[in-house]
């Protein structure tokens, strides 16, 4: 599945950007292209949790800014020698999928390290995996893990006739545990039944078009599934919005510090030589708290209480920003 964003990839402890090269591209269906990425020096790539995605820098978009898309990893997860993605061409998209489809063997591709947001639940008694169209990509890595670790599972895969990516591989991995559908009504009917006949302790995982996910969530709710056992790939951006530029005025020093979009207030202060005690740089530890004299604040931290945020007299500059053009700090 694809998530598009223009958000800069924020890398903190351990998260790094990898420069990979294209080892192989395969047309899986008329609309889906499979790309294998490897380290140019042949090194092993970081392991990942099934359901993880990587953020790929797909050239540049309008305005010359890097265009970044997230793609689910479909290959083996343990110390892999390659990352594999399968990308459906989106004619109405911003050009990222076209950029991937145009890749040639040997091309360089910058990718972020894998991010997990759709992991299997290890205590599940049974895994009910449902995919619609290109939503099969994270489900495929779930299937690999389920087979390797001997988990109980079944896969329901709906796709347009002739456009079923990874079908052969799924048949090999799943055997009779794979159910495929090319007719919408048959899929709907069979899923209604499947939602009712699972053992207690089953977890449901879905990835596909919004309509399919919403419909199944609603029916699972009516069939009595607890929310905690229903999972779907949600395309939330893990990183923070780059925000609007603003000016931080330091009242003691009597200087203005410009904070650009995509740059944190903490980074901007440090680059002007203003030292601020800090640890996590993720809005958690509370070390970098700064007193605010005036100006609206867009609080994005997990540290300050609701009351403290409401008071508006302090800010965590590692993640939070002004929500206007100017913020006055008692510094």
């Amino acid at each position: 599945m694809t998530l598009t964003s223009d958000v800069p990839v924020r890398n903190s402890a351990g998260g790094t950007e990898l420069q990979l090269t294209v080892a192989e591209t395969i047309a899986l269906t008329p609309t889906v292209r499979h790309v294998r990425l490897v380290d140019p020096a042949g090194r092993t790539l970081p392991s990942f949790t099934p359901g993880s995605h990587i953020v790929v820098t797909c050239g540049t978009g309008p305005g010359g800014r890097p265009r970044r898309n997230s793609y689910s990893l479909t290959g083996p997860a343990f110390e892999p020698d390659h990352y594999a993605i399968s990308v459906r061409l989106e004619e109405s998209g911003r050009g990222g999928s076209q950029w991937v489809h145009d890749l040639q063997v040997g091309d360089r591709v910058p990718v972020g390290t894998p991010r997990s947001a759709f992991a299997p639940i290890l205590t599940a008694r049974h895994h009910l995996l449902v995919a619609g169209g290109i939503g099969i990509t994270p489900i495929l890595s779930h299937v690999r893990a389920a087979v390797q670790w001997g988990r109980s599972f079944e896969v329901h895969y709906a796709f347009r006739d002739g456009d079923g990516a990874h079908l052969d591989e799924l048949h090999d991995l799943c055997g009779p545990r794979l159910y495929i559908y090319t007719a919408r009504e048959v899929f709907r009917k069979r899923m209604g039944q499947a939602l009712l006949e699972q053992p207690i302790g089953t977890h449901l995982y879905m990835c596909g078009p919004t309509g399919l996910v919403d419909d199944l969530c609603e029916r699972a709710g009516r069939a009595g599934w607890p929310d905690a056992r229903v999972h779907y790939e949600h395309f939330r951006v893990g990183d923070l919005d780059p925000g609007e530029p603003f000016t931080a005025h330091l009242t003691r020093r009597v200087i203005d510090v410009t904070v650009d979009s995509g740059v944190s207030l903490l980074d901007a202060l440090e680059s002007r030589g203003v030292a601020v005690p800090n640890l996590c740089r993720q809005g958690v530890c509370g070390e970098c708290r700064l007193p605010v004299m005036s100006g609206g604040i867009d609080h994005r931290d997990l540290y300050l209480s609701a009351a403290e945020k409401e008071a508006g007299d302090c800010v965590m500059p590692c993640v939070s920003r002004a929500n206007g053009p100017r913020l006055e700090l008692d510094l």
Binding site: A13, G15, P46, S47, P114, R115, L122, W149, C280
Partner: protein
């Protein structure tokens, strides 16, 4: 100790022995309160006596003794190793990650080599080699977490993430400071931290849990924690309380001159790592003990330790189990430790 172990920090011109030069003295202020004091791992920390912190796993001069002690403890009480059935994959993940950490930190002593599907782990300090296939139990003599526990000085707890919470579902803990893995296994992060004073009203624990749940594969953070211990006794678990509990009273009732030798500052260097394949959080706890006598050889340390102990509120001192020992500790620092108050 084998000479092949390349210690990260050597004696510098202060002429202090390694146990002091490499001690992770935890106090950067004259007062101590609980906080979510996490920072990215891997950067060396300079102290008044030397430094620490280059690697998430730390091998030192106590290596062979600590491993022998761990085996003795596990022999007497196998329940110090716990793993709920769904944590098998996290055990493998933790084992291989720890092997890689050891090989990266001490390449002359440890190696992890790849041969197709198989891996070969080498520990030259113990003269041991083990080949295995990831996930295949028939290729290892022990459960994976139990196996790697024979090669490192850290205690390990593995946390599973589900239902918007973390669960302490596996661990190998032989050097606990006044807690019990067997009691805690299967509890949520918030349940485990239930008895800690202050942190609940101050929101420290939920914030820490949120932070941990946001870690991505390969990210590694660290923090320190501390208490006081009588003698260099690593095992202060709840299970052996009858063996060590009364020492705190006996020390307080005994002669003051013994305190400097027997009372230790106990510091845990904790690392928090998101594992890749299982998605579990690996919590490493490395316990360092340094006697008050040794601390007094570094005047900046003895002065600061004095201030922290003197100021620490009673509810925190009580939870840390130091109500009986901090008085004698303070008196010793004033009388013999060169501290003027």
């Amino acid at each position: 100790m084998s000479t092949t172990i390349d210690l990260a920090v050597r004696d510098d011109d202060l002429g202090l022995p390694d146990r002091i030069a490499r001690f992770p003295f935890p106090f950067t202020r004259d007062t101590y309160r609980y906080s979510t004091n996490v920072e990215p791992a891997g950067s060396p920390v300079a102290t008044a006596a030397g430094g620490w912190g280059r690697h998430p796993v730390d091998i030192d001069g106590h290596y062979l003794d600590d491993l022998t002690e761990r085996e003795r403890i596990l022999g007497a009480d196998p329940t110090r190793f716990q793993s709920l059935p769904h944590m098998e994959i996290a055990q493998w993940d933790a084992m291989v990650t720890l092997m890689r950490m050891l090989a990266d930190a001490y390449p002359e002593t440890f190696a992890l080599e790849r041969d197709g599907e198989a891996r070969l782990f080498v520990n030259r300090a113990l003269g041991l080699e083990q080949s295995f296939v990831f996930g295949d139990r028939s290729t290892l003599p022990d459960p994976p977490l139990r196996f790697i526990g024979r090669h490192l000085q850290e205690d390990v707890v593995l946390l599973d993430q589900r239902e918007g919470a973390l669960w302490g579902d596996a661990g190998l803990v032989t050097f606990a400071a006044d807690w019990s893995l067997r009691f805690d296994v299967g509890m949520s992060f918030r349940q485990i931290h239930g008895p800690v004073p202050r942190v609940h009203t101050e929101g420290v624990i939920p914030r820490a849990e949120q932070f941990l749940m946001g870690l991505q594969a390969g990210q590694c953070y660290r923090r320190t924690n501390w208490s006081l211990s009588v003698d260099r006794r690593l095992d202060q678990s709840t299970e052996t309380y009858p063996e060590w509990g009364r020492d705190r009273r006996l020390l307080a009732e005994g002669p003051l001159e013994d305190v400097g030798r027997r009372l230790h500052l106990r510091v845990e260097v904790q690392h928090l790592v998101r594992l890749g394949v299982s998605g579990a959080i690996m919590f490493l706890i490395r316990t360092h003990l340094l006697s008050f006598e040794d601390i007094a050889r570094v005047p900046e340390w003895s002065g600061r330790l004095y201030s922290v102990l003197d100021e620490l509120p009673d509810d925190m001192a009580d939870y840390k189990g130091i109500m009986r020992t901090r008085g004698p500790g303070l008196r010793w620092l004033r009388t013999y430790g060169g501290v003027r108050s």
